[in-house]
Amino acid sequence: MTRLARITWLLLLSSGLLAVGASAQVDITVTRTVVQRIPIAVVGLRASGGSDLAAQALSVLVSDLEFSTVFEVLPPSFMPFNPREVRLGEEEKVLASLNHLKVQAMVVAELTQRGKDLTLEGRVYNVSRGVFLGGKRYFGEVTAIRSMVHRLADEVVLRLTGERGVASTRIAYASADKGATELYLMDYDGYNPTLATGNRSINLSPRFSPDGKLLAYTSYRDGNPDLYLLNLESGRRDKVSALPGLNIAPGWSPTGQWLALSLSKDGGTNLYLMRPTGGDLRRLTNGYAISVSPSFSPTGRQIVFTSDRGGSPQVYMMDLEGTNLQRLTFQGEYNASARWSPRGDKIAFASNRSGGFQIYLMNPNGTGIQQLTTVGANEDPAWSPDGRHLVFTSSRTGKKDIHVMHADGSEQKRLTQSSKSFAPDWSP
């Protein structure tokens, strides 16, 4: 054969041998595409008095910054000084050595406690340019320490990316206990679960309004699945749809001016639009098929939903007026729970195409299907408001609990320990 061919064969053979050799010795982990994280140093939060509040604040701040996927927090051992001892007012002294370590950002924080009152101050720096970007001071009670640190973390993300972080957000979910299913709210990291309903009946499908002030949900408290709105600030509850049959599966338009929901009053379970007051009811789908689980695109122009009009539950898309109906999923017998990313570029959904239910992403035209979960049964995906993360239900531990992961499927972790929690939604 020609010289070139011989060389090519040699190269192929040797690389093939190398690959074989490599796989025989090393476990090759498939890494997903990693976006470059900004290296950040967290300094300050010096322990004072006998309390470990500063240590707690540090731990929460580091977790928040890491989870954001924006930052990679520099381990303290890498710094040639003790980061804990850096005081507010002295932080500029360490900028040079941090820059030397190729750190690009720094947050310095200090906690002051007076009795039950706590002050947290944080300042954010662009290390590469040695420039102060901004700072905030938070006042609150000691019991609010986690919330205060979450706010600081969001401020850091905002200063460095121009986008607000999600550390101050909450997750609503349903949890079954002793024959009732109640709704709960918890911090985005699983802390501080609080009861949102308490009517000892079945409560389902919590959905935050786009301004975060209202929670829509279905409740059987009056003996029928009716739609309610809970005002999260005032605690006031309104029953906004109590038509005969089902009033279920609410989905908010991005402006909060419309609720899409499924009603069975006319035979068949069809999608309707309604004002959050309950008025202005408009029908979107017709017939005796089932249409449920509406999710608006961030432009508000389209809705994805689940329907069995084609014979099995599949994901469909239509315009807001109910026109231009298209089927998006064609593989697998059950595709459902579609949720449109706030960024507009992806739709998350649950599918049993690979056997059990898993969570997938697809482009809004149905192409580019990516599988995100593989372990256990996984369903009910919901996006974080920045579109970087997903919360979902997983039974991988044997029982249903709320889990989170990043939008590329990485770092999946459990948030609840209840063993019967499901149907999460993420606040704005």
């Binding site: 499924s262 379970t269 459902a336 149907a423």
Partner: protein
């Protein structure tokens, strides 16, 4: 919406005064229903295990019962069972409904609530709609059989109120049903 194995707790924690009757009722249910008409029905009846013949050819299946699972008491009206993701009335369902029609005609003041239920597979929201469809299917059959529609109400519980807790077909098939509750 789960598959996969689950450690089964075989213990029945008591505390319910009609517990033994339930166990008997459940055993009868598992051995006879839905193909055989029940000789002893419901918690009010005094029938014991001696009243029901167990067909030797058919193995007895078990499914775990735990606190939180609903009792399977059927009352005087027979429940109707369904195939996965279907609301079509099977032959055995028609038999049950025909008997229900007879009972309702014989008790003209009685009303019934039909509860539509699903097994845990599939999404909660879709299953609410499927349960609704199952309840309406039974209602339509009763109405076609001459029962006044005003005597029938329907409600769907989707997968939210299973009768048998478990993560395989042995449990699932008991949850895909219309459950009839008599309202006097």
């Amino acid at each position: 919406m789960l598959r996969g194995r689950e450690a089964r707790e075989q213990q029945w924690t008591g505390g319910r005064f009609w517990g033994p009757i339930l166990i008997v009722g459940a055993a009868l249910l598992l051995t006879g229903c839905p193909k055989k008409p029940e000789v002893a029905g419901g918690p009010g009846a005094a029938g014991g295990p001696g009243a029901e013949k167990v067909t030797p050819a058919k193995p007895i299946t078990e499914a775990p019962v735990q606190p939180g699972a609903r009792p399977t008491d059927e009352g005087p009206l027979k429940d109707v069972f369904f195939d996965f993701d279907k609301a079509v009335i099977r032959e055995d369902g028609k038999q049950a409904l025909n008997e229900d029609i007879q009972w309702l005609k014989a008790n003209p003041t009685a009303r019934t609530m039909i509860e539509g239920h699903c097994d845990e597979r599939g999404t909660n929201e879709y299953n609410l709609a499927l349960g609704d469809r199952r309840a309406r299917a039974a209602r339509d059959y009763l109405v076609a059989g001459g029962i006044d529609a005003k005597r029938i109400s329907t409600i769907s519980y989707g997968e939210e109120r299973p009768f048998v807790l478990g993560h395989d077909e042995a449990a699932w098939k008991w949850n895909r049903r219309d459950h009839f509750v008599v309202q006097k």
